[in-house]
């Protein structure tokens, strides 16, 4: 399926929906600068589910949030790197069903804005639009959020506003990104002039201001407003139905605290997939849920992902879930990618000592009591780290080079890259600049 001679990081761009390149996110703290994410690179391929696994504090959530500029700055610092996003549209030939012209994905790339597809410097001469998410202005970012890239949060109890109904919250997505459709559904021409149409238009994109809300409730505009509301109701109900909520109309009038955890997460999913995004970032979507419902939620995500041809970045600490839902897996440790490869490679042929340790630490039927292979020590502080492998001190295969050089992520097999000196000895003659110990 993939070109075997290409290193995984340079898969051709037609194949990728997003590419993270040397991402660095730091945080200011009293003790110094915390290197939460320190040079992370990977790509998310079209239509795949990429798992991002690691333990608490490894930087996986920070990476996920960077896609949507959702990190507070300050104290966060965007210290470098880029996240390139290749937005897509529904294939016009088949309407998203998948056909020959879109190679079955149901989606086609969007023409570059600068050259309308003829190829220019901005798009690396291939005509497809690419966006650097980290450098995007706030208005352009806003248009991508929830529409092209959506996110599901860890705790649906906290990620839903307690004082707005489900309808109001899910409806917001449509008001932000689908106001023209709403107007159309309500029978208001897009190009209609006059103050009434203007007010309605603002209403359809949540722009109405105090007094206008009052005007909308009065006779001349009232019937049209009601049509708009009904159209919105339909869209919200449809979105909720997608997530197999039995009685969406009834649920719409409720507040989040009136729903069970599983139900809330379904609402979050409905809200995230409402606009049919290209990429879904799922940040530990089942951690806050009971075991007996988590399989259902994961199933739902996989199912909807297939139906909508959405790519997923699945962030989790739970290896057994990742194994079941992901096509490829990236293992993060202390702000770096330790290993990346297909799910089979990671679980059946783990190369990085950390990945191996992590897998061995999970108690299974085969593991003998008292003899779990625990990784010794604990995660290092990420305040102003030295250039060295972050796993030093805990690694069973540590060499002298590990403490002084920084291993880079390099291929060990097609699609399988590891950053470890066991597989890639440090270059001969290379010396760390600060080095005092070795010579």
């Amino acid at each position: 399926m993939f070109d075997e001679n290409q290193p995984s990081l340079a898969a051709n761009s037609a194949n990728a929906i997003a590419r993270v390149d040397d991402l660095k996110v730091y945080f200011n703290s009293k003790r110094g600068i915390v290197h939460s994410v320190d040079g992370v690179s990977f790509d998310i391929r079209d239509g795949e589910t990429l798992g991002l696994v690691g333990e608490t504090g490894c930087g996986k959530s920070v990476t996920g949030r960077s896609f949507l500029q959702l990190l507070p700055m300050p104290p966060g610092i965007q210290a470098g790197g880029s996240i390139t996003f290749y937005p897509q549209g529904i294939c016009e030939e088949c309407g998203g069903k998948g056909c020959a012209s879109c190679t079955g994905t149901g989606r086609t790339s969007v023409d570059c804005e600068a050259c309308s597809g003829t190829g220019c410097d901005a798009c690396g001469n291939n005509g497809a639009q690419q966006i650097d998410l980290l450098k995007l202005g706030s208005e352009k970012m806003r248009r991508i959020r929830g529409d092209r890239i959506a996110m599901i949060f860890q705790d649906p109890g906290k990620a839903l506003n307690p004082s707005l109904t489900i309808r109001e919250q899910v409806g917001e997505v449509f008001l932000q990104h689908r106001s023209e459709e709403l107007l159309g559904a309500a029978g208001i021409a897009t190009d209609a002039g006059g103050w009434q149409a203007n007010i309605l238009r603002r209403k359809a994109s949540q722009m109405e201001r105090g007094i206008e809300g009052l005007l909308l409730a009065l006779p001349p505009l009232r019937s049209q407003r009601n049509k708009l509301e009904l159209a919105l109701d339909d869209m919200v109900a449809d979105a909720l139905t997608e997530t197999q909520i039995a009685n969406p109309r009834k649920l719409m009038g409720r507040y989040p605290h009136e729903l069970s955890g599983g139900m809330r997460q379904r609402v979050m999913i409905a809200q995230a997939l409402a606009c049919n995004p290209d990429l879904l970032i799922a940040d530990e979507p089942t951690t806050a849920l009971d075991v007996t419902v988590q399989a259902r939620i994961l199933e739902l995500i996989s199912e909807l992902k297939e139906r909508h041809k959405t790519s997923v970045l699945y962030i989790s600490h739970d290896l057994s879930l990742v194994r079941r839902i992901c096509d490829r897996v990236a293992v993060m440790y202390a702000g770096r990618i330790a290993e990346i490869g297909t799910t089979e490679q990671i679980f059946n042929d783990p190369r990085h000592p950390y990945t191996r340790g992590l897998l061995a630490a999970v108690p299974t039927a085969a593991s003998k009591r008292g003899e779990l292979a625990a990784i010794k020590g604990s995660v290092p502080e990420l305040v102003d780290p030295k250039p060295s492998c972050r796993f030093t001190g805990r690694c069973l295969f540590e060499t002298e080079a590990c403490g002084t050089f920084d291993p880079a992520l390099q291929n060990v097999a097609p699609n399988h890259a590891v950053s470890c000196f066991i597989h890639h000895p440090p270059p001969e003659g290379a010396r760390p600049s600060f080095d005092t110990k070795t010579s």
Partner: protein, 311 residues
């Protein structure tokens, strides 16, 4: 956002090996002090408090005490209504020939007495009542809290004013009135804290060990509940003076006493004729006093906030 704050492990602020409990306690206090002093507005507040306390302690050396009662304003009938800068009366005099400077200096002593007595009395009473209510719960709690609710239904200044009025106008009655009104605040804070602290698992852990209720109260509950009381006490060191001065201003102190509120009231008569100083300086002192303790109280609250502590 939880993920971000946990990106690293807490690092020991203690350098080198520590060998005794006391050494750690001292280090901890030092760390806490450094934390508190890292806020410039807190330092400003502490500086003002230092100045005011210095004034109160060294009052006899700054302004020669009046004979026989130093807390009475000296009256210089030969120099009434003098503006600031008059020799011998650097801040001017009042309509009755009182030296404003003398009032400002000795007023700090009056205020210190007032705030110390009222705050310590109310903290003790409030802590005891709140502890009983929160620790025992049940009907004891119910009864005590209804009493507290009744007390809190009457706006505090109005309540204190009514009590002081019934007791008769005098400075010591102001102290009594304020104490009667303010303790409920501490009772309520303490009770709420205790109920909250009781839910922590370390209380259950102490019970599983088999420690006695008394020990659990003194070792686990009280030390972990007391922070908000301390913060409130600091704020009240200022507030009490503010309310006390208001009562004095209304006229519930003895006339002629060296107290800032009395002086503001005395100076009020002259403002129509342009004699601004007799009210302005004592009022400024009240403001500074309250401001200083408010700044320090806010600083303490931030420094001791469990959500920001240790980060």
């Amino acid at each position: 956002m939880a993920d971000i704050s946990q990106t690293r492990l807490p690092k020991s602020p203690f350098r080198g090996p520590t060998t005794s409990v006391w050494q750690v306690r001292v280090l901890r206090m030092r760390e806490l002090a450094a934390n508190i002093l890292s806020n410039p507005t807190t330092v400003l507040g502490l500086a003002i408090i230092g100045m005011l306390l210095g004034m109160a302690i060294f009052a006899p050396f700054i302004a020669e005490p009046n004979i026989p009662d130093a807390y009475q304003m000296p009256r210089d009938w030969g120099a009434v209504r003098k503006p600031p800068g008059t020799p011998g009366h650097i801040l001017g005099t009042t309509n009755e020939g009182g030296d404003v400077f003398y009032g400002v200096v000795w007023g700090s002593r009056t205020s210190l007495q007032l705030s110390l007595i009222v705050v310590s009395a109310t903290v003790i009473i409030g802590t005891i009542v709140g502890s009983i209510a929160g620790f025992l719960g049940g009907w004891v709690d119910e009864v005590l809290m209804r009493i507290v609710d009744v007390f809190l239904s009457i706006p505090e200044l109005i309540f204190a004013l009514a009590i002081a009025a019934m007791l008769g106008p005098s400075f010591s009655n102001i102290i009594i009135a304020l104490s009667m009104v303010i303790w409920v605040k501490y009772a309520r804070i303490m009770r709420a804290q205790i109920i909250q602290v009781k839910q922590n698992e370390y209380i259950d852990a102490a019970r599983v060990i088999g420690d006695s209720k008394i020990n659990i109260y003194f070792r686990d509950i009280l030390p972990n509940s007391f922070t908000p009381v301390m913060v409130q006490a600091t704020l009240d060191m200022g507030n009490v003076v503010l309310i006390g001065a208001t009562l004095s201003f209304i006229g519930l102190s003895e006339a002629g006493i060296a107290e800032w509120g009395v002086l503001v009231s005395e100076g009020q008569a002259g403002i129509a004729s342009g004699r601004w100083w007799a009210s302005t300086f004592p009022g400024l002192m009240i403001f500074l006093w309250a401001l200083a303790f408010n700044l320090v109280g806010d600083g303490l609250r931030d420094a001791l906030d469990p959500r920001t502590e240790g980060r």
